[in-house]
C-alpha cells in the first residue's frame, strides 16, 4: 500500500475489484477451461460466487459506516462509500443476482446459452458500482460507459434473432449519442470549475448565476444525456424498441438496474453540485416529467406486445420518479429512493413471469400469450396480479408507497398542479395494467399453449420479488428507515 493506493482505497474499491475479477474469470473459463458448450452453463455458479463475495465486501463497508459514522472517501475524492451509495449497491446486487438466476431456462429454450452472459452481467454491475459511488467526472463517465457498452451486448445477445440485433443497434446508436451529450456537459463543467471532482465543481457552480449561459449549456447537455439513460420523454424513443427486442430478463434488468444506476448519478449531480442552479433546471425537469407521464401512459394503452407495454409504463414511472427530484425536499428525495427500490422489485417480478412464457423459437411477449395463465399456472398468475396492482400503485402493495412519498413531497413544496397531473395519470395507468390482468384471469386459454418454462431460479426469483412487493407495502418501516438513512449525510 502506497500513497497512491491506501488501505482505505482498497477497502472502498474491493467490491468492484471482486465483481470485475469474477466477470473476467467467467469470460476466460468460458473458452479456456470448458471445451464443451454444455459445461459452460455451470458458469452461473461464478455469478452466484462473485455476488456473494461482493456482498460480503459491501456488508463490511456497511458495518464500518454504522460503527464509525460519516463517509469513506477514496482516491483523493474520486470514490465515496456512504449510505446513499450502499443503498444502490444492494439494489444492483439483488437485481443482478435475480436476473442471473432466471436467465438459465430462458437462454436454454432460446438456444443461446453462453457462459459470457454471466460475466457480462457482473461487468455491468461493476459499471453501476462506479455510477453510485463515483464523485469525479472521469470515474462517472467510465463507469457509465462500462455499464452501457455491456448492455449493448446483452440486448443483442440473441444473435440469430433479427429483432434482438435491431434492438441492440438502435440502443447502441442512441445510447452513444446520449453519452456524447453527457460527456460534453461534463467537459463544460470541467471548464468552468477547473476540476473534475464534484466537490470543487459544486463551489464553482454556486459562485455563478443560475442562468449563466455556460452553466445552462452544461446542465442542458448533461441533463439531456441523463434523460436518455433513464428513458424519460422526449428522449425515450429507444426504450420501446430496445425493450421489445432484448431477451426478456435483460429487458427487466435494463428497466430496473440500469435505470436505477442512471438515477443514482442524476441525484448525485442534481442534488449535489448542480443544486445551486435549481432555478434554471427545475422547470425543465418538471416539463420532462409531465411529458414522460403523458407519453408513457397514453402510448401504453394501445400496445399489444407486453414488453412494449411495460416499456411505456417504465417511461411513465421515470416521470413519477423525476417528480420527486422536482419537489427536492427531503420527503421527495426519500420518495425517489423508495420508488426506485419498489419499482425494481415489482418490474423485475413482472418480467420474470414473462420470461417463463418463452418457448422454443418464440419470445412469448404478445399479450395473447398471457391468456388463460390462471389455468396453466395459478402461482404465476397470482404473482402477476400482485405486480400489476403494485405497478398501478394501488394499496396495500409497495407501488402505492413510492407514489405516496412522491406526492407528499410535491404537496409539501407547493407543486399542487404536478401532484394532480400525476394522480390523474395514475388512474389512466390502471386501465392498461388491468388489460394484462384481464388476459391472465378472464380470457380463455390459447389452444396450443404448452407448459411454462420454470426452473428453481424462477421460483426463487418470483418468491423474493413477490414477497418484497407485498411486504414493503404492508410493513414499509425498514425500507423507509433505509431511505432516510441514505439521504441524511
Amino acid at each position: 500500500m502506497s500513497q497512491y493506493y491506501t488501505a482505505t482505497d482498497h477497502f472502498v474499491l474491493l467490491p468492484a475489484i471482486l465483481l470485475a475479477l469474477f466477470g473476467c474469470a467467467t469470460l476466460l473459463f468460458d473458452f479456456l477451461i470448458f471445451p464443451e458448450a454444455k459445461q459452460r452453463r455451470w458458469l452461473l455458479v461464478f455469478l452466484v460466487l462473485g455476488e456473494a463475495f461482493a456482498g460480503v465486501a459491501f456488508w463490511r463497508q456497511q458495518s464500518f459506516l454504522l460503527e464509525h459514522g460519516g463517509n469513506l472517501t477514496a482516491f483523493r475524492g474520486a470514490l465515496v462509500i456512504d449510505h446513499y451509495a450502499l443503498f444502490f449497491h444492494w439494489l444492483f446486487l439483488a437485481a443482478t443476482l435475480i436476473t442471473g438466476l432466471i436467465s438459465y431456462r430462458y437462454l436454454e429454450v432460446r438456444d443461446e446459452h453462453h457462459g459470457e452472459y454471466y460475466g457480462l452481467l457482473m461487468l455491468a454491475q461493476t459499471g453501476m458500482y462506479f455510477l453510485a459511488s463515483g464523485t469525479e467526472l472521469v470515474t462517472l463517465f467510465v463507469g457509465l460507459e462500462t455499464m452501457a457498452i455491456t448492455f449493448y451486448i446483452l440486448v443483442g445477445f440473441l444473435r440469430a434473432d433479427r429483432r434482438s440485433n435491431e434492438a441492440a443497434l438502435k440502443y447502441l446508436i442512441l445510447g452513444s449519442l446520449s453519452s456524447g451529450f453527457l460527456v460534453y456537459g461534463f467537459s463544460v463543467l470541467y471548464g468552468i470549475s477547473g476540476s473534475t471532482r464534484l466537490s470543487e465543481i459544486a463551489a464553482a457552480v454556486a459562485a455563478r448565476d443560475a442562468w449563466d449561459p455556460v452553466l445552462v449549456l452544461a446542465v442542458g447537455t448533461a441533463g439531456a444525456g441523463l434523460m436518455f439513460k433513464i428513458a424519460a420523454a422526449p428522449f425515450h424513443m429507444w426504450a420501446p424498441d430496445a425493450y421489445e427486442g432484448a431477451p426478456t430478463m435483460i429487458t427487466g434488468y435494463l428497466a430496473t438496474a440500469s435505470k436505477a444506476a442512471s438515477f443514482a448519478l442524476l441525484l448525485r449531480l442534481f442534488v449535489g453540485p448542480l443544486g445551486p442552479a435549481r432555478e434554471s433546471w427545475e422547470p425543465l425537469l418538471a416539463a420532462v416529467a409531465v411529458l414522460s407521464m403523458t407519453i408513457g401512459n397514453l402510448a401504453a394503452v394501445t400496445q399489444t406486445n407486453t414488453k412494449r407495454l411495460l416499456a411505456y409504463s417504465s417511461i411513465s414511472h421515470a416521470g413519477y420518479i423525476l417528480l420527486g427530484l422536482v419537489a427536492g425536499s427531503p420527503t421527495g428525495i426519500k420518495g425517489v429512493l423508495v420508488y426506485l427500490l419498489v419499482y425494481t422489485f415489482m418490474t423485475l417480478g413482472a418480467f420474470l413471469v414473462l420470461t417463463s412464457l418463452a418457448r422454443q423459437g418464440m419470445a412469448g411477449d404478445d399479450i395473447n400469450d398471457l391468456r388463460g395463465l390462471m389455468k396453466r399456472a395459478p402461482g404465476h398468475a397470482l404473482w402477476m396480479l400482485v405486480f400489476m396492482v403494485s405497478l398501478a400503485g394501488i394499496p396495500p402493495t409497495a407501488g402505492f408507497l413510492g407514489k405516496f412519498y412522491i406526492f407528499w413531497g410535491l404537496i409539501e413544496t407547493g407543486h399542487y398542479t404536478l401532484a394532480v397531473i400525476g394522480a390523474v395519470y395514475a388512474v389512466v395507468a390502471i386501465y392498461y395494467y388491468f388489460r394484462i390482468v384481464k388476459a391472465v384471469f378472464v380470457e380463455p386459454e390459447e389452444a396450443e399453449a404448452g407448459p411454462l418454462t420454470v426452473s428453481l431460479g424462477t421460483r426463487v426469483g418470483l418468491a423474493v420479488t413477490g414477497a418484497l412487493t407485498l411486504l414493503v407495502g404492508v410493513y414499509p418501516e425498514p425500507v423507509l428507515r433505509l431511505a432516510q438513512m441514505s439521504i441524511s449525510r
Binding site: V138, G156, L169, I173, G180, Y184, T196
Partner: protein, 103 residues
Amino acid sequence: MLAPVTTAHYLVLSAILLLIGVVGILTRRNVIVLMMSIEIILNAVNVNLIAFARNLDQLEGQVFAIFVICVAVAEAAVGLGILIALFRNKETVQVDEIDLLKW
C-alpha cells in the same frame, strides 16, 4: 496579421463539431455514417477538454480526453460487432430497411 487562436476559438470549433455530429445522426441513413457522427461528437468533447486543460494549465483535461478516446474505441468495436451480426441476418446497413421494430 492573423489574430491569435484563443480558447474561445476552440470552444466554437467544438460546438460546431457537436452540431455536425447531431445533424449527421438525425439526417443520415447509413449506420456506418451514424457511427462516424458519434465519433465526431466525442471528438468535439475532446477538443473542449484539451482546450480547457491548456487554458487552465492542468493535466486533468488531457487525461479525461484519453479516457474518452478509449471509450469511443470500445463503443465502435461493439457497434461494428452488432452491425455484423445484423448484416448476417439482414444484409443491409440502411436504417430505413432495419424496420422490424417500430422505430
